[in-house]
Symmetry: C2
Subunit: 203 residues, 2 copies
Amino acid sequence: MPDQPKYQRRKEDRPQEIADAAFAAFAENGYAATRIDDVAKRAGVSKGLTYLYYKTKEDLFKAVVKNVVVRRVDALIGDVESTDLSSEAFIRGPLLSFMKKVPGSPIAIVIRLLISEGPRHPDLVDYYYENVVARGLGAITKFIERGVERGEFRREALEHQPHLFLAPMMLSIIWRLIFAEKQLNTDQLMESQVDMLLTQLRA
Amino acid sequence: MPDQPKYQRRKEDRPQEIADAAFAAFAENGYAATRIDDVAKRAGVSKGLTYLYYKTKEDLFKAVVKNVVVRRVDALIGDVESTDLSSEAFIRGPLLSFMKKVPGSPIAIVIRLLISEGPRHPDLVDYYYENVVARGLGAITKFIERGVERGEFRREALEHQPHLFLAPMMLSIIWRLIFAEKQLNTDQLMESQVDMLLTQLRA
DNA sequence: ATAGTTACTGACCAAAGAGTCAGTAAAGGC
DNA sequence: GCCTTTACTGACTCTTTGGTCAGTAACTAT
């Protein structure tokens, strides 16, 4: 029987492993009800090690919440800027499919955490506003404007369109966060809305 | 100097006073971060008294969350059933004005609490689904159907209309829960949506 | 091998907070 | 006034948990 070492030193990977475990724990139990000890167990390390990489529970929380969403939004914005589809085709294609994915993705969890913990972490809220919301809305707005310039869309009535595109997605997210099991065809909801908005936008 | 009694016995009023204080505390801090001692202080009573009227913290929480919303929804449903306005006039009038009020009302707080604590209190979620969501959606659906019977609305495409009416309200609620200060004209958002939906519904 | 470095462990501490209960005093009946 | 009832208080207990740190053992260099 080979003597198995009690643990391996894996300086490089630990922080991410702990962050992943923490995300799962926060997702299940929320911030306050999550025990650091529990996070450590999930990550397969001791509590002490968690404190080596993250100074406090709050630090861990913030670090975790920040790194979940940004790269997804980056990807979407990249798509928007590089696509050669017509505006309508892009909206019906990649944008709609992105919106359909969100309610079942970690983004939804982050929204739950922002709703429950946001008020006690204003800097986290600011971070999300700047890096996710503002950029996301900006991208959609730019995209509608491009449609206008190309003569695909009418100029008027685009005041609040970006938000209206997102509204059924938001409803779907919340619905699933609260009533996970109760059926609601959220995909169809978003499709109807997109249809409706495009009809109104079309030149 | 009259000797002031240390306290008054007010058996009738205490439960409600404690519940109100608890709602305020839960709204500010969430469930886990709320101290019973704090609730008691807000209500101007001792911690012990809280436990006389509510067996546990969880009992208190559930009692509080249940009694905030139901009577408002009752009122709305009462309106729906007794109005003599045309369907469109009712939607543009009382329904829209109800939806505008919600994001700044205690209902929004309840939604926050359901999102953060719902998973750990499934019976509370069920209660809300039955008493608020199902009844609310039912009322709107009935109302659209009435419009159809009267020849005001087209029959088709009313599949998911009730949810679409509510979607921008949901977005507004969440927006204000997270980004309280950041401006967004949520009223106008809901008006645009109602316009759009009515245009589509109109016979 | 052996010594040195440090990633990692786990027992520990101190604070906080849910829930209890013996005792107090306010109201009401006589 | 006095007695009884019970709404109410507040000090106490016991558990939980965030955070610390002295010690251990996995790797590295020589």
